[in-house]
Symmetry: C2
Subunit: 257 residues, 2 copies
């Protein structure tokens, strides 16, 4: 079994890098890595075959016989830190007992015929994470983020995504015109006319365009949509949260299966 | 037209009360009022016929001719404060130009035959707000919160609810056994068996029981459910966010309309 590297100095460069990744939502873009906190996220990455770079245990976790002791062979390097030091690496109220550094997959090309979600400048990390979970659940292959969308691999979106990141291909920083490469019809929700969800048959695969929480889908993007789709709302509020609307739309157009 | 009360002292008791309501998520329970920030929330309350107690304008908003100047006749009292003072009342990055105090409706009795949502100790304000929006959109009549659920009228839930609060009857602090008073079948989602959403016909009206983000629906409550319902997830993640799952379920069992 790999011999762990024991780190006890608070200012060790590896630990400083981890702190930066935990605190700065966009740091992964420069550093090329993300910091996964907790056994749920680390386990989800491993389950999808993502190779870990550093796997970090607290001392007390390292000395415990737990299932995740079997994970050590899947990391390039294993690090053990005093429990008090792990606290300085975490932004959570209860710091985790395990964490890992993972190289961010550099997906840059979009898959032309995949069932897709397009995020048009969504701001809220909780919404983005919830949408990634729904996308993974309903068989979406790729999530395409238009420039201005919350950073998909930021710590908050990673937490809200609960591991969905590892089931999806994620492409960031796109311009609306990049979507010309998609060979599936684009759909957007709208309260005006168009197809009625639950009545019309929806194309599959397709790409759902989800817009900014306050301003909705950009006009230029809307013009690229083959269909607008309305969600019947007998309560008359016409004001679903974007992640709630996304869940309904993705469920309705899921892969047959 | 009502003559406005002009307040310029930072420590005026009314302004102190507003600050307390903005900062302490449970203060409304003691004070019997909520503080609505911004024209969207205030407008939503008025649209549903809720009478305002104090309507608070910034000086610059007061001197502007805007639609909401027509709202002054619907408030018991109109207050104008210097713009800088409004900033001290707000917890938002961009303080609003208008706000209002509203008496919290003291709904304590549940409606036996209403299309309902039961919140079983949900913790996240964003999730609760999103669920209230979906409930209002799909014609739910009442939302019943089991003791331990996030405070429904807290500032964060109010913001996330975007006005849905005023379209619903909200009952808080219930025990599981209080649901014995409901004459509609209780449904809960489960990955195990039960009815399959999109295939089985769902009863209407019904009451959807939504469980704690980490621990799910309490066992005693689950035992009261007439049906469990599974949401087919061809992606195989089995891990929808609770507000996303709620949106799908409420849409699927909405009132015929």
């Amino acid at each position: 079994m790999t011999e762990p590297l024991i780190l006890t100095a608070r200012d060790n460069p590896l630990l400083q890098r981890i702190r930066k990744l935990g605190q700065d939502p966009g740091a992964y873009r420069k550093l090329g890595q993300v910091w996964l906190e907790g056994d749920h996220l680390v386990g989800a990455a491993l389950q999808r075959g993502r190779p870990l770079e550093e796997l970090v245990f607290t001392e007390s976790a390292w000395h415990e016989r737990a299932d995740w002791r079997g994970w050590v062979d899947r990391a390039r390097r294993v690090v053990v830190v005093p429990d008090a030091l792990m606290k300085t690496l975490s932004t959570l109220e209860s710091p985790p007992r395990i964490g890992a550094l993972l190289a961010v997959p550099a997906d840059t090309a979009l898959a032309p015929r995949a069932f897709s979600v397009v995020l048009d400048r969504l701001q809220d990390a909780g919404n983005v994470g919830s949408i990634l979970r729904s996308a993974a659940a309903f068989g979406v292959g790729q999530v395409l983020a238009i420039k201005g969308t919350a950073a998909l691999w930021s710590p908050k979106v990673l937490r809200a995504g609960m591991g969905a990141h590892f089931a999806l291909q994620l492409v960031e920083g796109l311009a609306p015109e990049d979507l010309a490469g998609l060979a599936v019809p684009l759909l957007a929700t709208s309260s005006h006319a168009g197809l009625v969800l639950g009545q019309a048959e929806l194309p599959h695969p397709c790409a759902w365009v989800l817009g900014h929480e306050g301003r909705g889908v950009d006009e230029a993007l809307m013009a690229r949509c083959a269909h607008t789709v309305s969600i019947p709302q007998p309560g008359g509020e016409e004001s679903l949260n974007v992640a709630a609307a996304a869940a309904i739309c993705l469920f309705a157009s899921r892969a047959p299966g």
